[in-house]
């Protein structure tokens, strides 16, 4: 089972929520401006990669820092800390023709959810 949480920290836990940010030094694999593609995975286990973005192209706009990877953590297979990025997807990329031409959708994605996009 996961480690016990110190009783002294419970008040802060209630007030701020359980952040999965970790103070671990990990080299980022992407930077702002990089063209990326969300991977197409369909695990029967936990993932926080939404169906509608799988296989779609986007652009990294910000590095959010290092966080625990939910997919492995949910199975107690390790925290696998990695960078999370804000990635911008054009509405037309996600929803096709007829969606707002100027609309964008921003998703916070873990590094393992992305690969470099080939032209």
């Amino acid at each position: 089972m996961p480690a016990m949480f110190p009783a002294s920290g419970v008040e802060e836990l209630v007030r701020t929520g359980a952040s999965c940010r970790v103070a671990v030094d990990v080299n980022p694999g992407f930077k702002s401006g990089d063209a990326v593609r969300a991977v197409n995975i369909n695990p029967v286990t936990h993932t926080r990669l939404p169906l509608y973005v799988r296989g779609k192209r986007g652009v990294v706009v910000e590095d959010r820092g290092v966080f625990v990877f939910p997919d492995t953590n949910a199975q107690l297979k390790g925290e696998k800390p990695q960078h999370v990025y804000s990635v911008m997807f054009a509405a037309e990329e996600l929803w096709g023709h007829g969606s707002g031409r100027k609309d964008k959708c921003y998703l916070d994605l873990w590094e393992d959810y992305m690969v470099p996009a080939k032209e």
Partner: protein, 103 residues
């Protein structure tokens, strides 16, 4: 998991009912489930991602027709049963006690 929880882009779900003055809890039972979650989480019974996966494993029809904190209760029971700290028999016997009015 490609479950019912992943609703992004689905049509026909109706409007989002935003309450102008939203209370922290709508009922006492919601407050109690929040407290149970905090205690079990702080006690190391599960991590937050195991808990989220617990919600995802609800039967789709039940997920869509139940409240937010009912989702939490489902995950709480599932995670605590999975780690052996709670049994179905214990849940059933406690429900019978409550039905008899034994607080």
């Amino acid at each position: 998991m490609n479950g019912i929880h992943d609703l992004g882009g689905r049509h026909g779900m109706g409007p989002i009912n935003i309450e102008p003055i939203e209370p922290v809890f709508h009922a006492e039972w919601e407050r109690r489930i929040f407290g149970m979650f905090i205690l079990a989480f702080a006690g190391g019974h599960f991590n937050i991602d195991q808990f989220r996966h617990g919600v995802e494993q609800m039967a789709p029809a039940e997920y869509l027709s139940s409240d937010y904190y009912e989702h939490w209760l489902h995950a709480l029971e599932l995670c605590c049963k999975a780690n052996g700290s709670l049994t179905d028999d214990e849940i059933q016997s406690r429900m019978k006690e409550l039905a008899r009015g034994d607080a």
